[in-house]
């Protein structure tokens, strides 16, 4: 027997079809939409993330859970909007200019969403100017840059510069096969994560420190 709330359990097991009924039951019991997100959904995704980190499950299973969570959020969205509740953090993410590799970046985006961040994905081959414009438009707390080619690492440097020049206080995390912690320091990024799971820890640690400019 699991000690999780049935809705949390449904998220963990990816039982999307059960979600609407369980969400309705929570609402009928007087729980607020925000509380459902914080106490039922996010803990479910946290368990899934933990299992994934321990190599007990794979991405497809994690995606099934993520879809179940999305289903719940869809139902709760009107209440959340009415109550002015937004995810605590917003992130902008993309693969830098000249680079089309996006699987790693997509996984990071998925993990960040699972940690209840609003994630704006700019896609691949994103120019420094486009990153800077997105930062000005969305005022995120976090920007994630991914690069897989040695020849697009310079574009990462240019992007960090363009974001800093935009003057919005934001934390920048970088990652991708050729990138290192030292490189992150060299180009003035705030953090480096070697994989998608640690990208969540890295982001949350930086965000807790507060935004720098």
């Amino acid at each position: 027997m699991s000690d999780h709330h049935p809705l949390t359990e449904a998220i963990i097991r990816g039982r999307r079809k059960d979600v609407p009924t369980l969400v309705s039951q929570c609402l009928e019991a007087g729980e607020s939409a925000q509380s459902i997100v914080e106490h039922r959904l996010v803990p479910g995704m946290a368990v899934v993330g933990e299992r994934f980190k321990k190599n007990e499950i794979f991405v497809p299973e994690m995606l099934i859970a993520a879809r179940a969570m999305k289903e719940a959020l869809k139902i709760l969205e009107p209440d959340l909007v009415a109550a002015g509740v937004k995810p605590e953090f917003t992130a902008v993410i993309g693969t830098v200019e000249g680079d089309l590799h996006d699987i790693g970046k997509n996984l990071v985006a998925m993990m960040w969403k699972g940690a209840n961040m609003e994630v704006i994905d700019l896609g691949v081959n994103v120019s420094p100017a486009k990153f800077a414009a997105a930062v000005q438009e969305h005022r995120p707390n976090l920007v994630g840059l991914s690069a897989l080619l040695t020849t697009t690492m310079p574009a990462m440097r240019d992007t960090v510069q363009a974001i800093r020049d935009a003057g919005v206080p934001v934390k920048i995390v970088i990652g991708g096969a050729p990138v290192t912690h030292t490189f992150a320091e060299e180009i003035g990024a705030d953090g480096y994560a070697p994989d998608a799971a640690s990208a969540v820890d890295c982001a949350l640690a930086l965000l807790k420190q507060g935004a720098s400019s």
Partner: protein, 465 residues
């Protein structure tokens, strides 16, 4: 909508005996202008290299060219010192070098000049494989049959072949716009659609054009690779993102897509990162490049030894031009390749029993430890090849390859010949169920998949759909 898929061109195997699916020997060897006979009894090193962290643009082009000058001189000198029997040099371009074909061509010339210089100095024979980038997906959704990326890519093939690049290859991406999603979702039906419907159609279109270019210049279409499909799966499995059994089954299916290059006139050596190449060698009899432990500089893999079992050229996939203690990295990797080739060639020189013993050791040292290694062992490759040539269409060939792969993995695991992780065992059954539910009729399958596909990701018309 009706499918226009013609039948497979190959309907029987060129190699039926796993022992004959062996390094250095292919039923249809390829002789180069310089006299290398690839697949004729000798395994040649195939060296690959790439730039260190630096931009590629008009301003940096002189430094970029210097890098390639230095690389080619260093690698060929070492090959000559170690008395390599010959060398295949692969120039896998970086995206700006295909986007601006003149830049790519300049480097082709630098490499060819370096090869001539070393031949004049030491007699070292060599051949250049040119692998432009498939930049078509810079447009999202990709334009597969027109547009500036398509034009520029063909221009580099054409000018490179005219300049003397004798082997033409590419890591083409047709179908990948849906396949990435299929991989992370563990969606075998989606993978089959991307590989055997979209991929096959794109390959046919692309390789028909490449064949015309090769004919015009008297060079050879060497082969393609399902890198963006099978190797993406492999890297994802290596990172524990997707089950290894799923990656292994996808690998089997990739052979159907890569086969189309040979149906359109390619003659090998197949491209190094196509780990599906053993299956293709069994079907076509053409020589194949392979990479394994020597490619750890580029990506990790679970078949470092086994991949050499039937190679005709032995490659390092790609290494940055950076300084290691032994020398510049490409030179160090050339040395490793030459020694690996020496060992295989030495074994072959003692006759079939010695060669077969080495082949068996290469296979047995990896096969039982990982389903992805097991599935491309000579015996499994021939089984998969047989399933493919027995099918009447590429769609059915993909389904047959997947089914045979699942059977092979299940029975090997049951017999204790293959280790499959506990959290992966259920996936075999799940994949078998997916195959059982697929429609027999290709048009129905296409309709079903089109209904599921994200219309923002790909343009059906680019695939005649």
């Amino acid at each position: 909508m009706t499918s226009t898929a013609p039948a497979l061109r190959f309907n029987r195997l060129a190699i039926e005996d796993p022992r004959a699916l062996i390094f250095g020997r292919a039923p249809h060897p390829l002789t180069t202008r310089d006299g290398l006979v690839i697949g004729g009894g000798t395994v040649y090193p195939e060296i690959n290299f790439t730039l260190p962290s630096m931009g590629v643009n008009a301003a940096t082009l002189p430094q970029v060219c210097d890098q390639y000058r230095q690389i080619i001189k260093g690698v060929l000198r070492r090959a000559a010192e170690l008395e390599a029997p010959g060398v295949v040099v692969e120039f896998e371009t970086l995206p700006p070098m295909t986007e601006h074909p003149a830049w790519g061509l300049e480097i082709v010339r630098i490499l060819l000049d370096g090869m001539v210089a070393e031949r004049d100095k030491s007699g070292l024979r060599s051949v250049l494989r040119l692998t432009p980038n498939d930049n078509r997906e810079f447009e999202r959704p990709p334009l597969m049959r027109r547009g500036r990326y398509w034009e520029a890519m063909l221009e580099l093939f054409d000018s490179g072949a005219a300049a003397g690049a004798e082997l033409l290859s590419i890591e083409s991406v047709g179908g990948k716009e849906l396949h990435d999603e299929a991989l992370v979702n563990g969606d075998l039906a989606g993978s089959l659609f991307a590989l055997c419907i979209l991929g096959v159609r794109d390959m046919r279109f692309l390789w028909t054009h490449l064949h015309d270019i090769a004919e015009k210049h008297g060079v050879n279409c060497a082969g393609d690779t399902a890198c963006g499909f099978g190797n993406t799966a492999m890297v994802l499995a290596e990172q524990r993102m997707i089950p290894r059994v799923f990656a292994a089954v996808v690998r089997a299916v990739t052979a159907v897509r890569s086969l189309v290059a040979y149906e359109c006139g390619a003659v090998g050596p197949g491209k190094d990162c196509g780990y599906e190449n053993p299956i293709l060698k069994a079907i076509t009899g053409f020589p194949m490049a392979m990479e394994g432990k020597t490619a750890a500089c580029a990506h990790l893999s679970p078949m470092g030894n086994l991949a050499a079992a039937c190679c005709d050229t032995w490659s390092n996939e790609s290494v940055q031009n950076i300084k290691l203690l032994g020398g510049m990295a490409p030179t160090c990797f050339m040395e490793q390749l030459v020694y690996d080739c020496r060992l295989m060639n030495r074994a072959a020189s003692e006759g079939p029993p010695a060669a077969e013993t080495l082949q068996r050791w290469l296979v047995e040292s990896d096969a039982s430890l990982d389903p992805q290694a097991y599935i491309i062992s000579p015996a499994a490759s021939i089984e998969l090849a047989r399933a493919i040539v027995g099918a009447d269409s590429h769609y059915h060939a993909g389904v047959a390859a997947a089914r045979r792969a699942i059977d092979l993995l299940s029975s090997a695991s049951a017999a204790g010949a293959l280790r499959i992780a506990d959290n992966e065992a259920g996936w075999l059954e799940q994949m078998a169920d997916t195959l059982d539910e697929l429609p027999q009729d290709e048009d129905t399958f296409i309709e079903e998949q089109l209904a599921l596909a994200d219309p923002e990701k790909f343009l059906p018309a680019e695939y005649e759909l």
